[in-house]
């Protein structure tokens, strides 16, 4: 394998407290050294002057859709979208068909990812058999096959008893339980956040309590069982307060949020455009402020996209009938940089931490750093050039982005996965 030397970039590697100009030397797919003015011979030189060099980003909430929904996305297209966004590791959610509820599907995804994928893929296994929310899946076997967490994402675990048992059992296997926190009865077929905006648009509302109630229940069960519990796509001010208290108590509770929950609110929904429809829904401006504050204060542990590609037919239809979810891999860093770092909510290095080491820690993978000897997963970003988001340029099969047309800074220039260049902008 050839060696690469990335020179003179601004290296941000929170795990090793690096935040300044340095070179990164890669050989045989591993990081060999990071330091100023490295005197080494490399097969390939990359001049990163003026650019940001980071560990490849880690996104622990991605829907790759394969197997079963290849018309929306495949492991190949989804991982290509990932590297186009500077993401080198993804944890993929199990709401496939069949769902990732036994070892065979875990193996299928891993082998497909190895053959056709462009980045590292870590499957999340189902909490329940067939993702039906009734009986526990073979958690131990899933772990052995390589599942990095448990979730029925796309749907919550409405049955509290099942959640209790899964938490107890998952703790024994040292697996994090990730819940899509939603009380389906409270959501009551809603399609957007309940409030003034839904009232004016005449759309059925999903109250903030629908999420918050479930976060509360799950935190209580996590306290009772001692399990590792992770709140997926947190969106409400109420959830933030509950997680804050749980952390104060020292519970094993973590939370993620997605870029749209700090950059958009329910007031952003215009013309019944279903590219603004996701679950949880875009919340009120008060909730958005709380999410930003939680990111600043460290109550939210990491950023994930909830990348959820859909076909155009599933989106260009009645708002009520449209599928929930938006794509996010290719805009992840740009929205983070332009709408979190530039306005001063978090520093650049803190943002990188939220996108690398923090999520890796939650699912227990050795990713998101430039430490000597680790897989050489590196991303280079240009934070000076402003560019318009154009969904038609996406590598993802999904075009369902609410950010289409936005002018953003923070675009990925180059992505290296295990020492191989997997993405170069303009190619």
């Amino acid at each position: 394998m050839k060696s690469i030397l990335i020179q003179n970039g601004h290296v941000v590697d929170p795990a090793n407290q690096i935040d300044g100009e340095a070179d990164v030397f890669i050989q045989d797919g591993k990081i060999v050294k990071v330091g100023k003015g490295l005197k080494v011979k490399a097969d390939q030189l990359i001049n990163a002057k003026g650019k940001i060099v980071t560990p490849g980003l880690v996104d622990i909430h991605v829907h790759l859709r394969e197997p079963g929904f290849e018309y929306k996305e495949t492991i190949a297209s989804g991982t290509l979208a990932a590297v186009a966004g500077g993401v080198t590791s993804v944890a993929c959610m199990p709401n496939t068909n069949p769902p990732i509820d036994d070892q065979a599907i875990v193996y299928f995804i891993k082998s497909k990812a190895e053959k056709e994928g462009h980045c590292h893929v870590f499957p999340v296994g189902c909490i329940s058999k067939r993702r039906e929310g009734a009986e526990m899946s073979e958690v131990g076997e899933l772990k052995k096959a390589g599942a990095v967490g448990l979730s029925d994402d796309g749907a919550p675990i409405m049955n509290a008893e099942l959640m209790r048992r899964v938490m107890e059992y998952a703790k024994m296997h040292d697996l994090v339980v990730i819940d899509h926190c939603e009380d389906m009865d409270l959501s009551n077929n809603g399609v957007m956040n309940e409030g003034h905006a839904s009232t004016v648009l005449g759309l059925r509302g999903i109250p903030a309590a629908s999420e918050t109630v479930m976060v509360a229940r799950n935190i209580l069960l996590a306290e009772m069982t001692g399990a590792k519990f992770h709140v997926a796509h947190m969106s409400t001010a109420g959830s933030v307060e509950l997680v804050r208290q749980a952390k104060k108590k020292g519970l094993n509770v973590t939370a993620e949020t997605a870029p749209h929950y700090w950059s958009l609110s329910d007031k952003s929904i215009k013309n019944y455009n279903a590219n603004f429809k996701m679950n949880p829904p875009l919340r009120s401006e008060e909730d958005v402020a709380a999410i930003r504050k939680a990111l600043k204060e460290g109550i939210i542990d990491c950023i994930a996209t909830d990348h959820a590609p859909h076909s155009s037919t599933e989106k260009q239809c009645e708002f009520d009938e449209a599928a929930f979810g938006i794509v996010g891999l290719e805009t992840l860093f740009a929205v983070t940089y332009s709408h979190l770092v530039e306005p001063g909510v978090v520093s650049l290095s803190r943002a990188i931490e939220l996108l690398t080491t923090a999520p890796s820690k939650i699912v227990g993978i050795n990713k998101g750093t430039l430490s000597e000897g680790v897989d050489a997963d590196v991303a280079i970003f240009d934070i000076t050039t402003e560019k318009k988001v154009d969904v038609n340029q996406f590598k993802s099969k999904g075009r369902n982005s609410p950010f289409n047309g936005w002018n953003l800074r923070g675009w990925c220039e180059l992505t290296i996965v295990s020492g191989e260049i997997k993405f170069k902008s303009g190619e």
């Binding site: 309940e194 409030g195 003034h196 905006a197 839904s198 009232t199 004016v200 648009l201 005449g202 759309l203 059925r204 509302g205 109250p207 013309n271 019944y272 037919t313 260009q316 239809c317 009645e318 708002f319 009520d320 009938e321």
Partner: protein, 312 residues
Amino acid sequence: MTWKSKDLLTLEELSASEIQTILDTASSFKEVSTRSVKKVPALRGRTVVLFFQEPSTRTRVSFELAAKRLSADILNVQTASSSLVKGETLIDTLKTLESMTIDALVVRHKCSGVPLMLANMTNATVINAGDGFHEHPTQGLLDLLTIREQKGKIEGLTVTIIGDITHSRVARSNIHGLQKMGAKVRVCAPTTLMPMGIEKMGVEVYHDLDKALKDTDVVYVLRLQLERQKKNLFPTIREYSILYGVTNERLKRAKKDAIVMHPGPMNRGVEISSGVADGPASVIDEQVTNGVAVRMAVLYLLKGEKTQGENA
């Protein structure tokens, strides 16, 4: 007065002067409806499609009569009885309709926002005949016309809308329309049928009917969808009727010359007593008459932009 917009989608987007124009035009059309030949050639040769995805005899018949009195050709497309829309996307349906070279599309749909989506996709004029819980602009306009005729003005009046505000497109259109024309709007409903954030629409919120009716010029009673009881939005029809049913006894709290309106069809003895519905304060029949005139006015004003075959 120049009419700029291609479509009528909401009263939220209309200005007071545009509403004024529609009401003035509707007054002229009322005269046409009194002639022995109740027909003028204004829309001769135009094709108006009535695309009703939700059953509604009243509104459809009113639009149909309006279009006929303007000499338009009418095509009824009701999805319940048609092959359209079964497994077909909204875009496919629109393409099918467009291929019939239509000039205007009158849309009733159970999903909020559909008329707006269609309007953005077609050159034809789109008229919203009611979408989900969103708006029902021609109902709002006919209500405004009725109030203006009965009271001589709209500005300065207090209008109280009673009933299921959450699920009412009629309420939303009336709130927008009445406020633009300078009326004060109160809404009265049990907390379970009052949508979140409604006070931000500039209305006064009441849960006590007697207080809400005090000094009211116009009492607007909404239809109660009886099946909502199963969703725990009120305990029983009986209790709803006791708390929110408008009877002659309760009507005494309103102004002496108050009028009573209802968009129909009524649940007599539930939200409104027969004594009120048939009583001297009721202008419910007048609303129906004005419905045709308002819809004639809207069709007439919007047809200004000719759509088919003019791209050449």
